[in-house]
């Protein structure tokens, strides 16, 4: 591995986390290709509309027509706060085109001279609004990428939460030169166990907070047991992790199917949404949880004995054993952690969708492994960085989100995602100076 020539902090940082450059490039690309007109929302949209109406010479009687989104209701307030006395807001309608139609007719029939209709860019497209004989005023737009809208950035963080959290455990497992294919099935198991507990033990839709906690812990505990068993089989019998976890993948998926009787478990109270959909300071709770877990994992991997031991086991198991590392215990711990985090992921999915089914998390094990590998962790073991994995997860999330934003169909998305994974891993190799021309030549000559 080549070390950077200058010993600056930036140099080391880029050497360790070179993938951040790929992430930034992707973000720049997607920002440029998703540039679009944006309108302010909420109260500021109202203020903007009020200003435009205030600029009109004659006093007007006007209508406000918006869809019934959460933020649309604040537009009326914004208008009322900033509108001049000489203008009258006759009626504000929050609904669909039908309601708009009725309101326009009612206002006309009541003898109001509606000269202006204030609307959003969405309601401006409705036929009754479009065809009404009145000046339409929409909040003035500005140019900004769809990709970089705050809502979209939150969506990206939210879409990778589950993958990223599980990828923490997967990184540890892969650093010990192992692999865990069972995490996708564990998502299903955890969701189903949580769902079944809520439905059958805590009263379904009427379950209290305590019951929800116990159910969630139950779901996670089931996965901890599976993770522990995997670790035990790998450590005690020296079975290849690939085979053990492949078996677990099937076994756990089967158990989840049996437990749920192949039905969707939907008797889950609204309160359970908090974990997946609750917000603190504008960021979903699950996303805070993800960042917190990464902070803890970063500390564990770089500052604690256990972290050093995990790297040692993957680097050279025999040398680690001879220098006093309890290899089997380390293996047991990493697979258990991986199971635990997969269980947590399952609970989050269950909360996000407010339902549980045995087909959740299918193929997610591969996305998790991809995030880890793109993040620069070597499948050979001994090398890898927790924060690299976070970057890897973001790269995958950004690509998936970006491809949806530019309307790429989902089959082409597979091609792009596959190619990006190959390119990312190749770039990482080249950057670390691990690619030799002679190796490439030897493929064809020897």
């Amino acid at each position: 591995m080549s070390k950077p020539k200058n010993n600056s902090r930036l140099g080391y940082f880029l050497n360790d986390y070179g993938m951040i450059v790929v992430l930034l490039v992707l973000m720049v690309v997607l920002s440029l290709v998703t540039i679009a007109r944006q309108q302010p929302t909420g109260a500021s949209a109202g203020k903007n509309i009020a200003k435009q109406i205030n600029a009109l010479k004659d006093p007007t009687e006007f209508l406000l027509i918006t869809p019934q989104g959460k933020l649309d209701f604040e537009i009326a307030q914004g208008i009322q706060q900033h509108i001049d006395q000489r203008h009258t807001l006759v009626n504000s309608v929050h609904g669909g085109p039908r309601e708009a139609n009725l309101a326009i007719r009612a206002a006309r029939e009541a003898g109001k001279k509606i000269t202006v209709i204030a609307c959003t860019s969405a309601s401006a497209k409705w036929d009754p609004v479009k065809n009404a004989e009145a000046k339409k005023i929409i909040p003035s737009s500005y140019i900004w990428p769809n990709f970089l809208m705050p809502d979209n950035l939150v969506t990206i963080a939210q879409r990778i939460t589950v993958i990223a959290i599980i990828a923490i455990g997967m990184t540890m497992v892969i650093i010990t030169a192992g692999i865990d294919l069972s995490v996708g099935s564990l998502i299903a198991l955890s969701a189903v166990v949580t769902g079944v507990l809520i439905r059958d033990c805590f009263g379904g839709k009427d379950a209290g907070t305590l019951g929800l906690w116990i159910a969630a812990i139950g779901g996670i505990a089931a996965c901890v047991v599976v993770g522990f068993s995997t670790g035990f089989l790998v450590a005690a019998f020296r079975l290849p992790p690939f085979i053990v976890t492949l078996a677990m993948m099937l076994l756990v998926r089967g158990v989840a199917n049996v437990l749920s009787q192949q039905r969707t478990i939907h008797e889950i109270p609204v309160a359970f949404d908090v974990l997946g959909k609750g917000y603190v300071l504008g960021i979903p709770i699950a996303v805070w949880l993800m960042f917190a877990l990464f902070a803890v994992a970063y500390f564990v991997m770089s500052r604690t004995t256990l972290g050093r031991q995990i790297y040692a086991v993957g680097g050279n198991e025999e040398a680690a054993r001879l220098s006093g590392v309890r290899v089997k215990r380390v293996l047991l711990i990493v697979y258990t952690i991986c199971g635990l985090l997969a269980g947590l992921g399952g609970v989050i999915v269950c909360s996000q969708l407010r339902s549980a089914k045995a087909n959740y998390g299918q193929m997610d094990e591969l996305t998790v492994i991809a995030a880890v590998v793109v993040g620069g962790t070597s499948l050979m073991g001994g090398q890898g960085k927790i924060l690299g994995t976070l970057i890897g997860a973001f790269i995958i999330g950004v690509i998936q989100n970006g491809m949806n934003l530019i309307h790429m169909d989902d089959k082409t998305q597979m091609i792009v995602l596959g190619s990006v994974i190959v390119i990312a891993v190749l770039l990482d190799r080249i950057k670390k100076g691990q690619v030799k021309w002679s190796d490439i030549k030897n493929v064809f000559t020897s």
Binding site: V28, I35, G96, R98, A122, Q352, S355, K357, N404, D409
Partner: protein, 331 residues
Amino acid sequence: MQKKLLRFLVLALIPVVAVACQKSSTNSDGDNSAGDAKKKVGILLQTTENPFFNDLAKAAETELGSEYQVIIFGGDKSADKQAKQVEDLINQKVDALLITPCNANAVGAPIRAANQAGIPVFTADTACLDKDVRIEAHVATDNYAGGKLAGQAMIQALGGKGGNILVLDYEQAESCQERVRGFKEVIDAHNADSKNQNAQIKIVSELPSLAEESASRKQTKDALKSNRDLVGIFAINDPAALGAVAAIEEEKLQDQIKVIGFDGQESGKIAIRDGRIYADPIQFPKKMGKRSAQFIKKYFAGEDVPKVEMIAPKLYYKADADADPELKNKK
């Protein structure tokens, strides 16, 4: 090292900027006519693997016409993937969503998100069972009525005789549960009516088909080992029916066992023409797509839209297939 990186960055940015310039110039073209901008409709399909959904989407797109920009995504039957697609479409501020849910309950979460963003939601095929959401209209096949038709076709196929039959179900989908419910009701009524012991139709086994060909083939083969005397099979969709047909033909029992399918996909219709499947209650995905699109247009025109519309299925026999212009020259 950093120099190299810098060079790499600059190189990478050139095509990016080129693409972006092109894109943004087309964007500004579109915005010149911002007054009557196209309405964007996101169509979310359960899967693009099943032609049923592709037909539905295409018909909807055609019906919506040039005033609408249509974005189509397939959800690979994953509720989670579909939820994420809906969220990405909300971020693009689409004007309406037409969803064929991957999961009748789990689809509630993304629909709620669309509701909060003020985007109208229409559903087709599978209904959303989460009552906590606002849906403008739902268009679906009357699966229960279809199941009853399948039952009548089975009685007809057996020609007044009874015997043991097999049902290949798919309990994961509520629509398929409805089909089996309707089927069983007709068979039970038939058994109650006919005093003749020989005319009794008995469902000896009900196996999961996974709604696909290979699983159904295996299930049918296994069922034939224990029940060599089967006289009929009802499969909840065409891929499952074709799997059953494949197993029957491998065992050379095609003269003994009659198969009833469901859906009326092209492969199913061809099998009916060739006499391999007796009959299908057929669904009308194109009609479903067309009706959904009409409702979306009505909605934007400010007209009333019915909350639910059920499209009645129809039995489709060999005679229908022989006369079907769409099947000419198809193998």
